[in-house]
Symmetry: C3
Subunit: 159 residues, 3 copies
């Protein structure tokens, strides 16, 4: 379903990345699934490295954030299905830029737009945006996310 | 109740801010409510912009963090009530400062004090404090939060 | 159990640190426990201050992250038991470095390795790594975490 929706949008699901350390990229605890920080990597290739406002412009940043979000979707698609999720919770968006560059909310829409376009109401999320000093491998942006899963079985009964 | 408590403290609840992108400022998934990063904005006016230790001092920073926390309370007040919440979970406090300025824990108390003073035990929280390179619009500080909601009724059963 | 496992690894559990502000270092809301950001402090002594790639090297960073993780375990050990936890959720690892230093994933393994070695499957986690501008007290690294608690019995009924 994620793949079909992406196809309609003219986008392709990247292969999900492999952890670069002793952690996991996706796991479930209770009814929440956690996704490790995703970077703008496509099929193992590091893209969108550098500093926004210097090496990269706002359109690059939008594409870079969209690619991070595609990598989040690739993790979701590998380990669960859209039917099983209640929806996205919160995303933390990180970027590295020059001190004067101030288009961060626009580029983070690259991720936000994708989630809402692909997942509909389940893609609604809150977000934080912070401009960091450096990111691993000189990536211009990074994105972490968590989502809530549907209750197994018929649901819960509230007494 | 939030408004009354703030009045006693000589403070006013700001109007809740409108998202500056394709996301929501507050939403609920399962029993957790998420609040998007809040900045020191009052009635649409951008305040406390600049770098701590250069453009702003520690007292400014305390006020700026308090204003972020007031904006978190404004979101809570708009979408739920104090009776419905179990309490605050964790807050992430971000600040931009010179390299040598080191009063961050003091300014973040501007948010922590407010939550505890207004919400009592429900305001108890864990926190992270990190000094970032830049924040959108040159804001000196930003604050995100999540909270746990009360189970409706007396409890719950998993089927 | 945490202490025994650490002893086998030749490590010692530090005394848990006291909050440096109006917040708590550990608390539980619903079935999730939150741990405030932990720094490389041992028995009240501030260690591993400075900037990676300038004042500290990668091996220092690994040790510093391990010490942060030991402080997370000290909080867990003080307020709950391994039997009561389902497992770690997500960790946020922060570091301050020069602009060109790029060994962050290696140093964060100092925390990730420890969690997996001490807690086994319960130590599996997702993680984010971001290079910040400054951290309080000039600490080179900081680490926050959350964990999921076990449901009592096979499901739950809150009464």
């Amino acid at each position: 379903m994620i793949k079909n929706k992406l196809e309609q949008l003219g986008l392709e699901l990247p292969s999900s990345s492999v952890p670069g350390g002793n952690y996991t990229s996706f796991h479930i605890r209770g009814s929440i699934a956690y996704v490790a920080i995703q970077f703008p990597i496509r099929s193992g290739e590091y893209l969108y490295q550098g500093r926004l406002g210097q090496d990269l412009d706002t359109e690059d940043g939008y594409q870079a954030m969209q690619l991070c979000a595609l990598n989040v979707l690739a993790q979701i698609n590998q380990y669960t299905t859209v039917n099983q999720i209640e929806g996205l919770n919160h995303i933390d968006a990180y970027y590295q830029s020059t001190e004067s560059w101030d288009e961060a909310p626009l580029i983070v829409n690259g991720a936000s737009d994708l989630f809402v376009n692909v997942l509909g109401d389940k893609g609604i999320h809150t977000r934080s945006i912070v401009g960091v000093h450096t990111l691993p491998r000189g990536f211009s942006v990074g994105l972490s996310a968590s989502l809530t899963l549907r209750k197994p079985g018929r649901g819960w009964v509230w007494l």
